[in-house]
C-alpha cells in the first residue's frame, strides 16, 4: 500500500486587520502586574503578541530603560489605555496625553465605575467614546458584555469593541458566552474579548465564540511562570481561531459512532 501523502497543511495566513494595520497575532497583551521587566519581556515574546496595551497613568513614556523601551526593542506596537480613569473627562485627557507622547491615535478606552468591581461605567464610556471619535482617535472601547451597548459604541464610531469575559483580574473566564456570541454576531468592527481570562481554555473559548482577538494581562503576568503561560495563550488563541473557522459539530443528546456502519466488510 502506498504511503499516505502528509495531510497536515500550514494554515493560511490569517492576520487581524484593525484600522488598516495587519497584526499577525490575535493575542493582545497587557502589562500590569509583571514581577520584573525582563520577565515581562520574556512573557510577551513567548505570547507572540504584536500589540500590547500600557496604562498611561502608571508608566512614563519619557523614562529610558522603561516598559516603552522594552516594547520598542521587541517591535511590539503600543496600545495606550486609560486605566485608572473614572470620568469621561479623565479618559479624554489621558488619551490626549498618550497621543502626544506616543504619536498614535489608537487608545484603549477604559472608564471604570468603582474600584471594587472595576466594571466599566456605561454612561461615561459612551460619552468618552463620542468625544474621542470627534477628536480623531481610534477608540478600542472596553465595555460590559452588553450586546446593546456594544452596538451603540460601534455606531458612535468605535474602531473595536472589547467586551469583558469577567471583571478585571478575576480570572473567572467568560461568564456569559451567549452575550459574547450575540455581540460578535451583530458587530461589523473587530470584537476583542477583554478581561476576566484565567487560563488558556478561556481564551480558546473566546475565539471559538467568534471573537477576533483576546486581550489579557493578569493571567500571564501573575502566573508562576509568565513566559510559559504566554506560550500557552499563543497556542490557545490560535487553536480557538482554527476551531472557529473549521466549523464545530452540532451538540447532540445521543451518541453517534464516529465510524459509520455502511461499507464495512461483512463476516458471515
Amino acid at each position: 500500500m502506498a504511503a499516505l501523502a502528509p495531510t497536515t497543511q500550514q494554515p493560511a495566513r490569517d492576520p487581524l486587520t484593525i484600522d488598516g494595520v495587519e497584526l499577525g497575532s490575535r493575542l493582545i497583551m497587557g502589562t500590569g502586574g509583571a514581577p520584573s521587566l525582563e520577565g515581562l519581556g520574556a512573557a510577551l515574546l513567548a505570547s507572540g503578541t504584536e500589540l500590547t496595551t500600557v496604562a498611561m497613568r502608571r508608566y512614563s513614556p519619557a523614562e529610558s530603560g522603561s516598559l516603552f523601551q522594552l516594547l520598542a526593542d521587541h517591535g511590539i506596537r503600543v496600545l495606550p489605555n486609560t486605566a485608572g480613569c473614572f470620568t469621561a473627562r479623565d479618559a479624554v485627557l489621558t488619551a490626549e496625553l498618550a497621543r502626544e507622547a506616543l504619536e498614535t491615535d489608537w487608545v484603549k478606552l477604559e472608564v471604570i465605575a468603582d474600584e471594587h468591581t472595576l466594571l466599566p461605567d456605561a454612561l461615561e464610556l459612551v460619552e468618552a467614546t463620542d468625544q474621542l471619535v470627534a477628536r480623531g482617535f481610534k477608540v478600542f472601547a472596553y465595555t460590559n458584555d452588553d450586546p446593546v451597548l456594544a452596538l451603540r459604541l460601534e455606531n458612535l464610531g468605535a474602531t473595536a469593541v472589547m467586551p469583558l469575559g469577567a471583571p478585571i483580574g478575576t480570572g473567572l473566564g467568560i461568564l456569559n458566552p451567549h452575550n459574547i456570541e450575540l455581540i460578535v454576531s451583530r458587530a461589523s468592527v473587530p470584537v476583542v474579548l477583554d478581561a476576566g481570562i484565567g487560563t488558556a481554555s478561556d481564551a480558546a473559548l473566546a475565539m471559538e465564540l467568534g471573537c477576533d482577538a483576546v486581550l489579557l494581562a493578569t493571567a500571564v503576568t501573575r502566573a508562576q511562570d509568565p513566559a510559559l503561560m504566554g506560550a500557552a495563550f499563543r497556542h490557545a488563541v490560535a487553536a480557538g481561531r482554527l476551531a472557529r473557522k473549521a466549523g464545530r459539530i452540532p451538540r447532540r443528546e445521543h451518541a453517534l459512532a464516529s465510524s459509520a456502519m455502511e461499507g464495512r466488510a461483512e463476516f458471515l
Partner: protein, 410 residues
Amino acid sequence: MDTLAVPAVQYDVAVIGGGVVGHGIAWEARRSGRSVVLIDDAPGTGASWAAAGMLAPVSELHYQEEGLLAFMLEASRLWPSFAAALDAETETGDASGTGYLPTPTLAVGVDPADRRALADLRAVQLASGLAVEPLGVREARAREPLLSPGISCAFEIPADHQVDPRRLLARTASLLAADSKFTAIRRRAAGLLWDNGRVAGVGLAGGGQVRAAETIVVNGLGAADLKGLPPGLSLPLRPVYGDILRLRVPPALRPLLRCTVRGLVRGVPVYLVPREDGTVVIGATQREDAPAHAGAVSAGGVYQLLRDAQQLLPAVAELELLEATARARPGTPDNAPLLGRVAGSGGEETAGLIIATGFFRHGVLLTPAAAAVCRQLLDGKPDPRWAGFRPDRFAAHQDSRLPTDDRTTA
C-alpha cells in the same frame, strides 16, 4: 572628617553615594584597613530615607527569582553580626543604635484568593528550604489582637526581621565620622577619572577631583549618569517610585503590633512595620509614572496604603500621620543588583572600578552582603556565587527581537 574642600591625598577607596549601601560599603572597607572617602552632596536623602528596613528574604521571594534569593539569604545570614558590630556599646532601645530587631514577620491575607496566593507562594518557599508556618487566624489574633477579625489566613515567617534605615545610616555615619582614615565630601560626583587605562578616582561637579586606587559606584539611579563610565557599558536603571507613610501610635494603643505584618489585600501588597519608638511604617506603593518631581507623593498612593492597611488593622485610623514620603528605587530589568567589576573595551576587567547599584526593593537587606562582595573584590578574591550580578550582564542580549517562526498561524 566632613568637608566641602577637596583634600589632595590619595585614598585607597572612593565611594560614590552615601545611602545605606554606600555607608555599609565604606564601613566594611574601613574595617579592612583601607582609607576611605565617601562622596555625596546629600547623603541619606535618597531611597534610604524612605525605606522601611524590612530584612525579609523569605516574604520578598518572587517566582523565578531564586538566584536573587540565595544572595538575600546570604545577606540575612550576615545581618546579626553586621548589626552587632555597628551596635557595639549600645543597648536595644538605645536611640543611637541601628534599631535592628530580630522579631518575626506575619504574612496575612484578606480574601480567599489572597489565602490561595499566599499558600501557593508558601509551596515555593518551602521548596527553597525556607520556614513559613501556618498560624491560623485565631492564633495570629491572639498574638496580635488588633489584627482585623476579617483576615482569611496567617503565616509566621521567623527569619524576616527589621532595621531602622534612618538610624542605621546615622549610626554608620557617626562611627565613620569619628574615624581618622575616613573622609566624607559633601559634593556631587560628576564622573570617573581615568589614568593609564584604569579608573583613578572621581571628578566632582563644579571642579576638583578625588584620587583613589579603587572607586565604588553606589549612587543608585545616579550611577547611569556618571561621566566616564567604561565605553560600551550602559547601566539599565529605571526609577520605580514608592510612597511610604510614617505614623505615631497613641499611647493607649501601644503596642500596636509586636511583629512586622505583611498583607495581601485583595491581591495588593501592603506592610506595617512597628518601631521601638512607638511609630509604625506603612508601605509601599510601586509606580512607574511621571511624578512632578522625584519626591512627589501620590495622593492615590497614600489612599491605597491607608485603605489596605486599615483592612488588616482597623486601628490604623486612630494613628497620627506624621509623614508621607516618596522616593525612587533603582530598578533593573531582572530585579537583581548591578554588583561587581565590569569588562573594558578589550574584554579585560576595568581596573580600579566596582559598581554596586540597582538594589531595587532590597537595598537595606542586601547592604552587608554588598559590602562583603566589595571587600572580596578589593581583596582580589571574588566569590563566584555572585558572578551572575555582573553589571555588564545585559549588554549581550540587548538586540533581541521577536522570533519570526510560526507566527502566522495565530
